[in-house]
């Protein structure tokens, strides 16, 4: 990760969360991916953290002085990629 990551740099593009937002959440007590998510919405958007999760882990790891593994990960949930409610709820749905 670049040492000169600016506070106004975007981390989560889907929800428009910046480095500064992540740092503020850490200051408010967040210690892992889920806590960052609850406080900033990083990882709540269309891509569900596929793009930003690694970056958020790096920032957490650096700010708290802990290993990246200790920062956790977002719980994997159905669906694996966006799918329409029509498909999920349709008659041809394969249970």
């Amino acid at each position: 990760m670049d040492d000169k990551l600016r506070d106004d740099e975007l981390v989560c593009r889907c929800e428009e969360v910046t480095v500064g937002d992540i740092k503020a959440a850490i200051k408010a007590g967040a210690r892992d991916i889920t806590e960052i998510k609850l406080r900033t919405r990083a990882g709540m958007g269309l891509c569900q953290g596929r793009t930003c999760e690694f970056l958020v882990q790096q920032i957490l790891s650096r700010e708290l002085g802990i290993s990246a593994e200790k920062t956790g990960f977002s719980t994997p949930r159905t669906p694996q990629r966006p799918v329409t409610f029509g498909t999920l709820g349709g008659d041809g749905f394969d249970k």
């Binding site: 609850l38 159905t78 409610f85 709820g89 749905f93 249970k95």
Partner: protein, 389 residues
């Protein structure tokens, strides 16, 4: 290691525990709040969130719900941290004439008690919700209902008083409750040390019985799971929380009505709730289970089926995530907001089932009034532990 003394120790950092802790500090108590993970990591972040009047039964249920809405409006100004409170109203819609008949009777009973609930004709539904299915038989509406962000509410309660009367012990496990020979509370043992305290409030939700047994108290809370689906962000096609009246039937068994057999197995009833990020939350199911956060594909299917029935526009919209939470259910649908006579100093605030967010403000206030020896804002008899024996 912790080795401190507090007037009161609150166990559980969800919406009930944080509200109780906040209201106790406001009364001048020194308070320790113990949470095994971090704030709002259990039911309070695995739910949807609204403070409604149109889903309460006439009587104490409605009184507690309505008083909480009024308290929410005060808290919006009282708490610095924004918990995204909006007062956009809420609507129940009916699929059949039979449902409409039950809903109208319910609305009239509530009106007789002084609550402002309107009965809507089918064409009025479209005026409130242009994208709702066109074949519905009508509905009921109250403009006083609110929406909010449940985990931000927890942060807001704690941020306001943390370090100013409240000490938060997160990632701290309660391992025992110390009683003296007279069976009075003496302290709380944790994996981080001992907290000396004469009073504890058990706000542990679906885990409340574990904390009860540490003092020989049985708390018959049953986990009742619910699954919710999240849509991708879109233009605002839904203006307020909307629910099918079947939701009332799924919540209270008193209402008898024929339902879609495909959704009956998991007690699925349609709810939709607009959220701050321009997503909508779509629910939900209600089935007894162990404490599990898995989302079963059969339940997801049943919820999506109901969703496209009530909002056909959703057929083409994306679902990006599902999640599940576990509600603390009580057999008589009333929470415990109570002292426990056989263990002086032991208090309980839990068992709100799906109304924990909605009733949190008043629950906190009532517990604070009870501990301060003041006359509570509402009569606490219906919420007493004694009713269970």
């Amino acid at each position: 290691m912790i080795n401190k003394t507090y007037d009161v120790t609150v166990i559980g950092g969800g919406v009930i525990g944080t509200s109780v802790a906040y209201h106790l500090v406001k009364k001048g108590f020194s308070v320790a709040l113990i949470e095994k993970k971090d704030l709002a990591r259990g039911t309070s972040s695995h739910c949807d969130a609204a403070a409604l009047i149109v889903d309460k039964m006439p009587g104490v249920d409605a009184a507690l719900g309505y008083a909480s809405i009024k308290r929410f409006l005060e808290l919006k100004n009282e708490l610095s941290y924004d918990f995204e409170l909006t007062q956009n109203g809420s609507m129940y819609v009916c699929e059949s004439d039979q449902e409409m008949e039950i809903a109208s009777k319910y609305a009239k009973d509530m009106q007789a008690d002084g609550y402002k609930i309107d009965i809507l004709e089918p064409k009025e539904l479209q005026e409130y919700e242009p994208f709702i299915a066109k074949d519905l038989k009508g509905g009921i509406f109250s403009k006083e209902c609110c929406g909010l962000n449940p985990f931000k509410l927890c942060f807001a309660f704690v941020d306001q008083v943390n370090g100013k009367g409240l000490d938060l012990y997160s990632y701290t496990n309660v391992t025992g409750i110390k009683l003296n020979v007279k069976h009075e509370v003496e302290g709380v043992e944790t994996d981080k040390g001992f907290i000396s305290t004469k009073r504890i409030v058990n706000c542990a939700g679906v885990w409340a019985n574990e904390v009860g047994r540490m003092a020989g108290i049985e708390i018959p809370v049953k986990p009742r799971k619910g699954v919710i689906l999240i849509s991708a962000a879109s233009f605002p096609f839904c203006n307020q929380k909307v629910q099918e009246f079947g939701y009332m039937i799924s919540k209270f068994s008193e209402f008898e009505c024929k339902r879609d057999p495909d959704v009956e197995k998991y007690n699925v009833a349609f709810t939709i709730e607009p959220e701050a990020g321009n997503n909508v939350l779509i629910g939900s199911s209600r089935n007894f289970s162990d404490i599990s956060f898995n989302t079963e594909i059969e339940i997801i299917h049943a919820i999506a089926k109901r969703a496209i029935r009530f909002y056909p526009i959703l057929k083409e919209m994306n679902c990006i995530r599902s999640y599940a939470g576990v509600r603390p259910f009580m057999d008589d649908h009333l929470p415990l907001i109570t002292e426990v006579e056989k263990v002086p100093g032991y208090y309980i605030a839990t068992g709100h089932e799906g109304d924990g967010i909605s009733m949190a403000p008043m629950t906190g206030r009532l517990i604070a009034e009870l501990l301060a020896g003041e006359k509570p804002y509402l009569d606490l008899t219906p919420f007493n532990y004694k009713r269970l024996s």
